[in-house]
Amino acid sequence: MKEFRADLHIHTVLSPCGSLEMSPRNIVREALKKKIDIIGITDHNSTRQCRMVALEADKAGLTVYTGVEITTREEVHCLAFFETFDILEQFQEYLDEHLPEIKNDPDRFGYQVVVDENENIVYEEPKLLISGLSNGIDQIGEKVRSLNGLFIPAHVNRPKFSLISQLGFIPPDLKADALELSRHTSKEEFVEQFPYLVRRTFVRGSDAHCPEDIGTAFTRIKMENVSFEEFRLALSGSGGREARL
């Protein structure tokens, strides 16, 4: 069993709020510099930059979990990860179907572009990616599970766009593979406030929007190797594997 450092929450240039510096090349370079073993690519409501980052990371021996930060109808942010590009594409279709037809205004919200390994723009997303999907958190969680993905409500302790801010509290029967905490709290502090969540798995990511922030928060994952299946087992605490802050 090995321990890996995983920054599971990183935005790219595709997120309107993501810096133009967040190209696949820069993200990979910065993660390696920060001695991160695994990165999660989680743009707002789009998976379209994942493949480029994964291909670039592959050359450098860095692991990428390809995912997305979904905005639910309740405006709760949730991370989801999928094992293969095929499945990722299926979930992209779901996102395209349920993201409202509101156009992005780059001057107001920022550019939403996909870039290749040479930082050439290959796609510009016309729809505003920070809108909420038309489906609620429970329906979206179900869709993620049906695609064998991992579902992780994001920064649940935060006063904005979190399960707690939008829906008042974390439903005890919530189906989730883990809960993400921001850097503003510790697991101990959080479960002291919400003792019924003590058995949940907690992860942390940097929520980086610019290269400097990559790796400033991460999860330590003990598992056999970096495969998606091992990650799943680690989140469930199976066979001595674990994810901790």
């Binding site: 609620g136 429970d138 006063p159 707690i164 801010s165 939008q166 829906l167 008042g168």
Partner: protein, 111 residues
Amino acid sequence: MKIKDIAEKLNLRIVSGANGLDREVINGYSSDLLSDVMGSAQAGELWITLQTHKNVMAIASLKDLAGIILVKGFKPDPDMEEQSNEEDITVLVTDDDTFTINGKLYKLLKG
């Protein structure tokens, strides 16, 4: 004023929790952030929202709210509807948006 009188006067559809129709409404509260409702709503208030998650019922019950109006024709999620029936807290639906139904309710309760 009772929930059933408000439902009738404002032409609201009763979706679930019909056993709660006799609850007395003392005021209204409008918010879509459940954390805000948990912190600020008062017992006996009628809650106007577009949220349809089952947490709505948990908070309505915790705060002893008189009932819920869903705006813009939104329907409660199945488990929210179920819990409304269990808790006897009525869920009403209007096609109006929040501003419009707020105005109507305000006029009715305070006008």
